[in-house]
Symmetry: none
Subunit: 248 residues, 2 copies
């Protein structure tokens, strides 16, 4: 087995299960724990998984719940996210100008994007830009200051660039979704980028799993009615019935 294949196998195992331990991987792939650890290190550096004590978790899980250990493993969310992303990706039309917000969910979305004619993707995340370019997409990056934690670009340069663009459609993540408080996120500067990018987009989609409904983060970046929400899983009846919520 090629080392490269082993890395891919690890990624898909992590994606599917949400998290795995080192011994599990070693057993499944027929190599020692040392090799697995080295692989995890490589993959972590490449931002394909998140290495944690005891094993590895998928990126979004590591991001949302930093303190989470390997004990619980509800991979429900993962299946949901795949369906959400597949549905969202199908909304991109040929000959369009598409905005992709930073965040782990939209990163997953990128892997589902189809190769259509004359589509240009714009993003505020250097990580997302790299993935897009890697998949052969025409990619544009906003300028600005690079926030090390999220690899997102913020500040006046990012906003100024956005002011010159008008997107056919765009996809955003959100830490909180509530009918009253709208879409919210923890970071002021990132909220600004989200707000301005939304303002320049015709068709706005927020992609999120069910867990974000009812949550409220510090900074609001859009009203609840400003975007169509694509989600999956057990969404409460209150939200499920709203006509800008699509459950897949």
């Amino acid at each position: 087995m090629l080392a490269e294949d082993r890395l891919n196998a690890i990624v898909s195992m992590v994606q599917r299960a949400g998290s795995v331990t080192v011994p599990e991987l070693a057993e499944a792939l027929g190599v020692t724990a040392s090799t697995i650890r080295r692989d995890l290190q490589t993959l972590d550096r490449a931002h394909r998984i998140a290495k944690v004590h005891g094993g590895a978790t998928s990126l979004e899980r590591a991001h949302v719940t930093r303190d989470l250990t390997l004990n619980e493993r509800s991979d429900l969310h993962n299946d949901d996210k795949e369906r959400i992303c597949a549905r969202a990706a199908a909304l991109v039309e040929p000959e369009s100008f598409v905005y992709i917000d930073s965040g782990s969910t939209t990163l997953r979305l990128i892997e589902h994007l189809p190769h259509l004619e004359d589509v240009t993707y714009v993003t505020d995340s250097v990580l997302h830009a790299q993935r897009l370019a890697l998949r052969g997409m025409r990619t544009v990056v906003l300028g600005g200051e690079l926030k090390p934690e999220t690899e997102a670009l913020v500040g006046p340069d990012a906003l100024a660039t956005l002011d010159r663009y008008n997107f056919n459609c765009g996809f955003w993540g959100s830490n909180g979704i509530a009918a009253e408080q709208g879409f919210t996120t923890p970071d002021i500067e990132e909220a600004q980028v989200k707000r301005i990018s939304m303002r320049h987009t015709a068709k706005r989609f927020v992609i999120s799993d069910a867990s974000k409904f009812g949550m409220v983060a510090p900074v609001k970046f859009a009203d609840f009615r400003d975007a169509t929400i694509i989600t999956a899983g057990e969404v409460s009846a209150k939200y499920q019935s709203m006509d800008n919520v699509i459950t897949v």
Copy 2:
């Protein structure tokens, strides 16, 4: 069997299986591993497959798991470059606004940069930006279209952003350095970014090993006198005596 047929056979085997090892291919095609390796190199350069350690994988499956430290180590022996970068890094002063050009030499430079107070680094490369951020530097990225091959940003957005900045000092790489033809590079768009960024910089440094002297690439981005060159190794007497050439 024609070499061309063999190449096609390799591609189809890789496509079908997803990935194959060098010995497998050698066995199947009745040639030695050396030949297979050469073939894989050819096909990799033609972007028909992805060559990895031990064999090859199809392009779809290929995820770049770039490990910077390994890449760096590969030509670590070239201590000329190390000395050049160490010398160049020492030129950065506190409280300054510094431009870092894309390219492999400047990437190496980043590892040598000191942690000074109030220094902001600006770059046109997403890769360089990531490294800078990783080292804890305050980092700004130009906007623009992302060129997949070099991970550099080009186009009107990049140039417009540059127009708003003025740097205390900056570091550039160059594919060709010649007294007559000046500093040259293969890509028109990247040349533009280099040219404009230089125009907005007070102290301009080109860092390069000795091999680039006398070379001329298609597009010129600055006159020979426009920058101070920091180099090392066996530089011809003609260049060594010039007062904007520093040999370390």
